[in-house]
């Protein structure tokens, strides 16, 4: 009955070994959105689906998380056999101390809120009842989380509302409202915004995100292995290492803009309400096309770089071509702006 409710009926205990008894020192959550077009091509023309690529990297990281607990959710498009019989295409993986202990296929219902099916899976199958005592990291891979209510983010179940607020709510539900993540890393475009920092203010200590576009080959996160040696490593330091290694790879391989920012949400919390309110007011008056890529918030008339730069560490290189190729600096904040 429980399985029918959750829509997840293929539950497999994959490990032949006994579940490790040692309690993990930290928790990693990977949410990989694949319910959309994630096709990109490598320089030789080879077609890659970015979500599959991210899943391979996450599974590899999970195996190397020798003292950690890892949850991976691969949210894929819903499919029906012959257009009639529902198929479970999404997959949940659960690792403990480098060992895969559960793999569950699941599907969501059309009434589910964003991440709700995954929240239920975690509540049902998560082995640790209180991960909040340990360092917790959340990594998201997908398209830009829309600023405002938007339908169509999920290609299947296109009526599901996905926006910054829904994202923050879904993410918070994994660990409970009384607790927060040490780091939330968004491997997505244009989510290094005042809105995202505001909505994650109570949910995360640090935020790693791109204020501009981010190529589909996504962020690198091999530095997470440092958690095995030092689970209490400063998450701000770890976030900067992830940003730096992603920056190095992307600047070697792409011609487009590379922008990765680490936001210390405790520090930005000193001014985020004011900055958010001003950008919100601008949006209400000017109504830019929200599907256009972000621009530097410094282009907005009210933005004062000295006032809004504390707590932001930026890794930035302008694009090689295009109208922004001569923009050598960036404030670290991305905004939707009328041309």
């Amino acid at each position: 009955m429980l399985l029918l409710i959750t829509g997840c009926s293929t539950h497999s205990l994959v490990s032949q070994e006994p579940v490790p008894e040692e309690s993990p020192d930290y928790t990693l959550f990977f949410y990989i959105h694949g319910d959309s077009d994630y096709l990109f091509h490598q320089s030789g023309g080879e077609a890659i689906h970015a979500d599959e690529h991210a899943l391979d990297k996450a599974l590899n990281a999970a195996k190397k998380a020798e003292t950690g607990e890892v949850y991976i959710f691969h949210h894929r498009a819903e499919k029906n056999f012959l257009g009639l019989i529902p198929r479970r295409k999404s997959q949940f993986y659960h690792f403990q101390n480098g060992q895969e202990i559960q793999r569950i296929k699941y599907r969501r219902s059309s009434d589910d809120l964003f991440m709700e099916a995954e929240n239920r899976l975690h509540a049902l199958y998560g082995s640790d009842p209180d991960p909040a005592d340990k360092p917790a990291y959340f990594l998201y891979f997908g398209h830009e989380i829309p600023l405002e209510v938007h339908r169509g983010y999920n290609a299947s179940h296109s009526n599901t509302v996905v926006d910054t607020k829904a994202f923050a709510t879904g993410l918070s539900a994994f660990i409970g409202e009384d607790h927060s993540y040490d780091l939330v890393a968004l491997s997505s475009c244009s989510n290094g915004t005042p809105a995202m920092a505001k909505y994650l203010q109570e949910t995360a200590r640090y935020l790693l995100a791109s204020p501009q576009n981010l190529h589909l080959s996504h962020i690198n996160f091999t530095s997470l292995e440092l958690l095995n040696e030092s689970p209490d490593i400063d998450p701000g330091h770890l976030a900067e290492k992830i940003a730096a290694e992603s920056y190095d790879r992307l600047t070697e391989s792409v011609q487009t803009v590379v922008s990765l920012a680490v936001y210390d949400l405790e520090v930005t919390g000193g001014y985020i309400e004011e900055l958010y309110s001003k950008t919100r007011e601008y949006l209400n008056h000017e109504t830019p096309n929200l599907f256009k890529e972000n621009r530097d918030c410094i282009e907005l008339p009210f933005f004062d770089k000295d006032q809004y730069s504390d707590g932001v560490r930026l890794f930035y290189r302008p694009p090689r071509f295009g109208s922004r190729s001569s923009s050598e600096t960036h404030s670290g904040w991305g905004c939707k702006i009328v041309d």
Partner: protein, 146 residues
Amino acid sequence: MKTIKAGLLFTIVLFTFQTSFAQSGSFSEIFKQHFNETVQKVEQAESADEKRTYLNDSFDDMLTAIERIERSANLSDDEQAQLISFKEDVEERKSELNGLDGFDEIVDEDLDDFSNFSQQMMEQANRTVTISLTSALLIVLILLLL
């Protein structure tokens, strides 16, 4: 014998259905696949003129396809906004290639890099171009971009 024929027919219908569904692809995937072929041709072209021709033809084909969608599809406001954004990006790349609208013309030795840049712009992670098109219009799109 009737059972065998019915089984065979069912298998053929099933295979056709599954294959055609898999090949139809989405709006944005069709454009990405089209431009990937352009990038490969540009890299293999021996002269700068040939590279420019491939790029200009490809941008024109995409703009024609977008205009066809604007005329033929019944788009929501969100879909319209996405399409405009996509169209403006293609127009900007074309202007930059040819040194129009305030851009300096792309010099011959940068054409390969510019071609890669244009592809990466199209394939960025913000491209949630979720325009729902009928199968018929998708087929028209594919034919326009061939």
